[in-house]
């Protein structure tokens, strides 16, 4: 499967600080890749660059062969860590927004997933708890048949039951040939869900490869390897 997202010597600098430094990696379609690194390692920056929210200061980034722009945005489903749905909206209006702007959005899928969560179309987003809001955003993103999914810390700071639900939703719904990139600093259980891993630290690439390769080469689980590499 060819690479959906390719980074070549990608650099993003804010003045003297480099959030990403000469980063080169490829993310293939049909595979779930874990973008693993401690806080502040550049995971969010990489995702924002791929989503078209930031512009590189050096090197290049391509999504399906194109530089980020409206055309790539139509194929990229991005789930940031924060609440990004407009405050005054109710669930029905959020569905309408996604239907309107994304041709690959499946309203039926979203509605059925929301029904499973006991969320009604008339519910106001601002009245929901943080956890419910995040689930709504996840449902909206996973109801898209995108070519590239970028999920920024989807399971961080979430209770175990919600974490299971989130992983379950991700596994069941991502588009078959799509590349799904999941960033996290808590590897634990999600190691079983990953095909490939990309380890990032201080904006630089630390290691990458398939989970099987890494475990065979290192003789330990990715979780253990991570702890070793990023020991404080």
């Amino acid at each position: 499967m060819e690479a959906v997202l390719t980074c070549s010597a990608l650099t993003k600098a804010y003045g003297p600080n480099k959030a990403l430094d000469n980063f080169t990696a490829a993310f293939s379609g049909g595979r779930i890749t874990g973008l693993l690194g401690p806080n502040g390692s550049g995971k969010t920056t990489l995702m924002k660059l791929a989503a078209g929210l930031l512009v590189p200061t050096g090197g290049s980034l391509r999504v399906c062969g194109q530089a980020p722009g409206p055309q790539t945005k139509a194929r990229v489903a991005y789930l940031p860590e924060r609440t990004y749905l407009p405050a005054g909206l109710c669930v029905r209006e959020a569905l309408e927004l996604f239907c309107d702007f994304y041709a690959d959005f499946s309203r039926e899928k979203a509605v059925s997933m929301l029904a499973d969560l006991k969320i009604k179309p008339g519910d106001k987003i601002s009245a929901m708890s943080k956890g419910t809001r995040e689930k709504v955003q996840l449902v909206l993103v996973m109801s898209r048949a995108a070519g590239l999914y970028l999920l920024d810390e989807p399971i961080g700071g979430v209770d175990p039951a919600a974490r299971d639900y989130i992983l379950d939703t991700i596994i069941r719904n991502y588009s078959e040939d799509a590349a799904l990139v999941l960033s996290t600093h808590l590897i634990g259980d999600i190691e079983k869900v990953l095909d490939d891993v990309v380890l990032i630290g201080g904006g630089r690439l630390v290691a990458s490869g398939s989970v099987d390769e890494l475990r065979a080469a290192q003789g330990k689980s990715v979780d253990a390897f991570f702890r070793e590499v990023f020991k404080c």
């Binding site: 595979r31 299971d164 596994i171 069941r172 190691e191 869900v193 689980s221």
Partner: protein, 121 residues
């Protein structure tokens, strides 16, 4: 189906083992249809590609069949399942005997102990 996948061994091997057990134990009967790959992967909280690999391996071994429209089904071949059952049982017994030897029991002592425990349970 209850899965118990741990991080210390290759996932797809564990999937194969637990699926074989499920088939032998009758959780998936002969001829029964299996859920789709995605659903099984979600149920086990593992990567769909890994689940696919495990299912394909079982297919290669003849335990599962794939029909284009109907998906995957467990084999109708009851003899094969019976053979697998014996094989798994043999493995369990072998492992048990080895462990007992390690603990310092002789064969005779092991058999006696086994008899006694079996009557109690």
């Amino acid at each position: 189906m209850k899965w118990n996948i741990t991080a210390d061994r290759p996932v797809y091997l564990q999937l194969i083992e637990q699926l074989e057990l499920a088939i032998v134990a009758g959780e998936y009967r002969a001829g029964a249809r299996l859920p789709g790959v995605r659903e099984m992967a979600a149920g086990a909280a593992v990567n769909p590609n890994t689940m696919q690999r495990a299912l394909q391996e079982l297919e290669a071994r003849g335990l599962l069949n794939t029909q284009r429209t109907a998906g995957r089904t467990v084999t109708e071949d009851k003899t094969m399942i019976a053979q697998l059952r014996e094989q798994l049982a043999a493995e369990q017994i072998g492992a048990f005997l080895q462990m007992m030897e390690k603990l310092g029991y002789t064969r005779a002592q092991t058999l006696a102990l086994l008899q006694q425990k079996a009557q109690e349970e």
